[in-house]
Structure formats: structure tokens, C-alpha cells
């Protein structure tokens, strides 16, 4: 890969009321992992979250963009019902099936200072595609 080639990572993109989360990766799975990191960073800084406990989730969809929606919503559901934050994500995609392992720890308000809870991933600005440079892009607006 050339030095100036875009590298995998995560970012946010602006939305007036909510927030756009974007992940890029060398394959779709890595882009999904980075989209989850972008979503977590909306709540609390990733570097404050210790990867102490592991949770595995799975989902299935024929449309890759719906699979992203389902993946992010699985992360949100695990955060909400387990009162946890996750910083480490490992995604495997085989055909229509996704298995994601995420590592994190219970929310500690004093240390994490979580600013906002994600309510759900939306269909707005929802895109999963391989870009001309070869990197995969996974993004959508998350309601917070």
C-alpha cells in the first residue's frame, strides 16, 4: 500500500440532531468493526474502556447495508441490556451471516463519563460499499 493511501479507521460525520458514524477497512468486516468503534466513541473515549469481558453476537441479512444496521443494533442492544461499553471488536462475515465478538467492561459513570446513549442505527446515509481506492466503507446515522 502506498504511503499516501487511505488507511482503515473510523470517523464521525455531521448530522444536526444525531451523529454519523463511519468505518473503513480492507474488507467489509474490518469496516464494520471500525463503524462500531466510531459509534462507541460517540458515547465515551475508546481509550477509557478496558477490554475485560467478551460478548459474542450474531446476525444475518442478505443486503450488506442491512447487515451493518443489524450489527450496530446488536452492539447497541448489548450496551443497553448489559450496561457495558465495548472498545474492541472482531467481526467475521460469511455470506449473509455475521458473528461479532466484542470486548469491554461495565459502565462506570465516574470514569467513562458517557455523554449519550445510542438509541438505534438508522437507514439514513446508510452505505456499505467498496471505494475506488479499494477500502470498504460502512456508515449510517445513529439516533442518540
Amino acid at each position: 500500500m502506498a504511503d499516501d493511501a487511505p488507511s482503515p479507521g473510523w470517523s464521525h460525520f455531521p448530522h444536526q440532531g444525531d451523529v454519523g458514524v463511519r468505518g473503513t477497512g480492507r474488507d467489509m468486516a474490518e469496516a464494520f468493526e471500525n463503524a462500531a468503534r466510531a459509534m462507541t466513541e460517540v458515547v465515551a473515549p475508546l481509550n477509557t474502556i478496558r477490554p475485560a469481558q467478551s460478548v459474542t453476537v450474531s446476525c444475518r441479512a442478505t443486503d450488506p447495508s442491512i447487515l451493518l444496521l443489524d450489527w450496530l443494533n446488536e452492539v447497541i442492544y448489548a450496551m443497553a441490556t448489559r450496561a457495558m461499553l465495548f472498545s474492541d471488536f472482531e467481526v467475521r462475515i460469511e455470506g449473509e451471516a455475521l458473528v461479532g465478538e466484542m470486548r469491554g467492561e461495565p459502565v462506570e459513570p465516574a470514569r467513562h463519563e458517557p455523554s449519550v446513549e445510542p438509541k438505534g442505527a438508522t437507514l439514513t446515509e446508510l452505505r456499505v460499499e467498496q471505494q475506488p481506492g479499494g477500502l470498504w466503507l460502512a456508515q449510517c446515522i445513529v439516533d442518540v
Partner: protein, 476 residues
């Protein structure tokens, strides 16, 4: 948004005339300056809503409209079930029945200020708020079903509040037609520990002072007077509503083509009201409304408990409880004939004028209270439903200031500590588990709420009754 791209009907009503697939006009109720502050996406989203099957009269954007998902926030649209009309999970939103209620206490602002620090501290300890916070009420399966069926009526029966509260709540505290048995186990699981919690983001409990009265008769009917202290609660249906929104947004997006609905954008996910999916969503969405009504009722009880400890014997009757993320079945006159419609209000408040909507006395004489939250450093407002609002926007009005800046940009512009200090210097105490959360909700990140409500009045949506200034803000 560039106002010159719109057709000006009058200074407070602008239109995108129907072209292409639009079935009705898109109407933006705002002045030129507010329109300039709106994202172009608002025009695109409200135009898309105007394309949906069965929409009647117009797709409306309120003065505080901003870019949402599917519908704009501040969007109103009514659909005729007999003309193929649809119901949209995106038109209600994830936070089903998010809303505002206000307790008009018999305390003065001076009494609150005499104990302001301690009172704020006790409120912040007693009101579960913020990410990961848990309520003290944990419902078993039967309790969950009863809550989702009974709403605030269930909460009052459980001892959280009084019967008088129910008369001052939309739907008298219980949304009929809810189907708790159809709500998914995951949605119920997500709610299990979240009853009686405030949430995060822009949700809050505020103690405010009535600073100005603009309509003496309405203020008298509402029990408001200058110098009075009120408690305002803004929150919704918590995890249950979020999960219902998540599930049905997906299902409707995938099912729409099967119903022959061609969506201008997939984010408008919807189903015919008279379809199996439409009816199923309607029942669970109504259960979500009941969850929100029960949640605000429990928070009311918690707030009253703190009031009683600090000001023994004080009264804090409910002025009113409004929901601003809903789809409700209502009767409206369209082209001279009464029609049963399903009215989506997403980030918009119902605004029945005098004599409408079976309001209890004395509210029926002056119109429905319309409660408008500002940002934590600025004022909030009480408006009254205007008789002109039926013609202007199917009896609807704005719901808040509306964001002017993204959370991301706000967090880069301000610090939580800085915002707290600046507000403290003005006599406003803000508590929150998150400093970044405070920065993201900084007053400067919101539009000028005064301009929004003045425009709402000039557009005939609601009349100004009272202005309120914050003293204590408990943020999620």
C-alpha cells in the same frame, strides 16, 4: 435552506409546490431567518414525506425543523387509511412518545433559590439519569404487560402519583389499542431496568421560574403566575421505544416494496395502515406510548418526593403532559368532510385550540398546553393551542428550540466545565454524569427558542402564554 427556492405564501408559510412524485405540497412554517438556518436536508426530507401514499393536505415542517432520519425532526404528516395511507416507524422515531410534562408548584423561585445547591444535589441523587443508569423499579412479565397496557394509569394505580394527574395527560394517561403481547421479548428486556429513568442526550429535569406572562387568561387557567417555580421533565419511552423503533424501521424498509410502495428514500420505511404490518406496528407503538407516559409519571413521583423533603406540604400538580414523537388517530376536516386520519408528529406537539380534543376544564376554554423546552441556559415556554392551528398544520406546533449545531461540533466548541461555570455565574446549576454531555448540549448549540415560539405564534400554531427561566438542570 435558501428561501428563494420556496414559494412564499406569507412571511411565516413557505411552500414547495407538488412536482414529480409529490402528492401534496410541502409546507414550511417559519420565517426567512429560521429557514436560512435549516439544513437543505429538511427540504429534501419533507419533500419525500409529501410523496408517501395517502398523505392529506400537506407535509409540514415546524419552525424548529431540522434534519432527522426519514421525516425531519419537526415534521407533521397525516395519512388517510381509506386512501392507502401509511404508518411510518421513521415518522415516529426511536424515542416513541418522547415528551414534556410540567408540574406547576405552589413554591416561589425565591424559595427554591434559598436551598438551590442542596435541592439540586438531592434531585441529581434521586432521579436516575445518564448512560447505564438503572431505575429502582424492575418489572416482572406480568408487571411489564400491565404497564404497557395501562401507561400512566398503571403508574398511578401502583402509587406513583394521583388520579388528578391523569386528567392532565394526553389520552388521560392511557393510550388505548396497545398490544403488549406483540411487543418483542427484546424490547421488554431492554426496558426491564429502565423504568423511572431520565435517559441521556437532550433529556432533562429542570426547575424553572415563570418570568413573564403573555396571556393572562390562559396563564390563570394553567395555574401559572410570575415568580412561580415549576418542574419540567423531558424524556420518553427509554429502551423499549428504542428497540421497537429499531425492529420496525428494519422490517418496514424491507417490506415496503412488497406492498407496492415505492419509497423516494429507504429511510422513509413505512407500511399501509390497513396492512398486517401497519396494524402490528400501531399496536406496539401504542404500547411504547404507554411506556413513556408511565415513565414520566414515575419520574414525577420521584421529583415530588424530593420537593416534599425540602418543602414539606408543598403542592406540585401536573399542568400537562405532551408527547412529541407519536402517530395518533384523530379526526380532522379535510376539504369540508370529517376524516379519520393517522397523524404523525415527529418532534412536533399536538396543539388543539379552544374547544378541541376533549380537554378537561378549564383547559378547554384556552386550548391545549404546548410545552416547549429550550436549551439549559435559555428559556423554555408554555404556549396554548391556537384555533388557527387546525388550518395551519392539523393542530400541531413546534417542540423545542431545535439544534443549530451538531453534537460533534458543539463538543469541539465548548467544554462541559466551561458551560457549567458560565451558567453557574448566571444562577443556573447544571448537574450531569458527563461533562462532554453538557458541552454537547451547550445553549449555543441550539437555535434561538424565542424566535421559534414567536414564529409559531405568528404562523398561527400556538399562542405564547408564559416564559420560563432555568434555575436547576438535571441532565442525563
Amino acid at each position: 435552506m435558501d428561501p428563494t427556492t420556496l414559494k412564499k405564501i406569507n412571511p411565516y408559510e413557505w411552500q414547495i409546490p407538488p412536482t414529480g412524485d409529490m402528492r401534496v405540497p410541502a409546507t414550511i412554517l417559519a420565517d426567512e431567518e429560521l429557514i436560512r438556518g435549516m439544513d437543505d436536508k429538511v427540504a429534501q426530507q419533507i419533500t419525500n414525506v409529501a410523496c408517501l401514499p395517502g398523505i392529506v393536505r400537506a407535509a409540514y415542517a415546524m419552525p424548529d425543523a431540522h434534519w432527522g432520519y426519514g421525516f425531519p425532526i419537526g415534521g407533521v404528516a397525516a395519512f388517510d387509511p381509506d386512501a392507502g395511507g401509511v404508518i411510518s416507524a421513521g415518522g415516529v422515531g426511536f424515542d416513541i412518545s418522547c415528551g414534556v410534562r410540567m408540574l406547576a408548584t405552589d413554591l416561589t423561585a425565591a424559595q427554591i433559590r434559598s436551598k438551590q445547591q442542596d435541592f439540586a444535589h438531592e434531585l441529581s441523587r434521586s432521579i436516575p439519569a445518564g448512560v447505564g443508569s438503572r431505575g429502582r423499579i424492575h418489572l416482572d412479565d406480568a408487571g411489564m404487560e400491565a404497564m404497557l397496557s395501562g401507561g400512566a394509569v398503571w403508574a398511578v394505580a401502583e402509587g406513583y402519583g394521583t388520579r388528578a394527574d391523569l386528567l392532565r395527560t394526553e389520552e388521560q394517561g392511557r393510550m388505548a389499542g396497545a398490544t403488549p403481547e406483540v411487543v418483542s421479548p427484546r424490547a421488554k428486556r431492554r426496558q426491564r431496568d429502565e423504568m423511572g429513568t431520565l435517559g441521556s442526550g437532550n433529556h432533562y429535569l429542570e426547575v424553572q421560574e415563570v418570568t413573564d406572562i403573555f396571556d393572562e387568561a390562559a396563564a390563570l387557567a394553567y395555574g401559572l403566575s410570575p415568580g412561580q417555580a415549576v418542574v419540567t421533565i423531558h424524556c420518553g419511552s427509554r429502551g423499549l421505544g428504542h428497540q421497537i423503533g429499531t425492529e420496525y424501521l428494519r422490517e418496514m424498509a424491507l417490506a415496503a416494496p412488497g406492498y407496492g410502495i415505492s419509497l423516494p428514500d429507504r429511510e422513509l420505511a413505512c407500511a399501509p395502515i390497513n396492512s398486517e404490518l401497519g396494524q402490528r406496528y400501531l399496536g406496539v407503538m401504542r404500547a411504547g406510548i404507554n411506556c413513556a407516559l408511565a415513565n414520566r409519571q414515575i419520574l414525577t413521583h420521584l421529583a415530588r418526593g424530593v420537593l416534599e423533603r425540602f418543602f414539606p406540604g408543598c403542592k406540585a400538580p401536573l399542568l400537562y403532559d405532551v408527547s412529541h414523537n407519536t402517530c395518533k388517530e384523530e379526526t380532522h376536516v379535510i376539504d369540508g368532510a370529517e376524516k379519520r386520519l393517522f397523524v404523525h408528529r415527529k418532534g412536533a406537539t399536538r396543539s388543539f385550540g379552544p374547544g378541541m380534543g376533549n380537554m378537561p376544564p378549564p383547559l378547554n376554554k384556552v386550548g391545549q398546553p404546548v410545552l416547549i423546552g429550550g436549551s439549559m441556559g435559555t428559556e423554555s415556554w408554555v404556549l396554548a393551542g391556537d384555533e388557527r392551528s387546525e388550518a395551519a398544520a392539523l393542530s400541531s406546533a413546534c417542540h423545542g428550540a431545535g439544534r443549530a449545531m451538531s453534537r460533534h461540533q458543539a463538543a469541539r466548541t465548548w467544554t462541559g466545565r466551561g458551560v457549567q461555570s458560565e451558567l453557574a455565574a448566571r444562577g443556573i446549576i447544571v448537574t450531569s454524569p458527563s461533562r462532554r454531555g453538557i458541552a454537547e448540549e451547550a445553549p449555543g448549540a441550539y437555535k434561538d427558542v424565542t424566535r421559534v415560539v414567536e414564529t409559531a405564534e405568528k404562523a398561527g400554531l400556538a399562542r405564547r402564554v408564559a416564559r420560563l427561566a432555568p434555575m436547576i438542570c438535571i441532565k442525563g
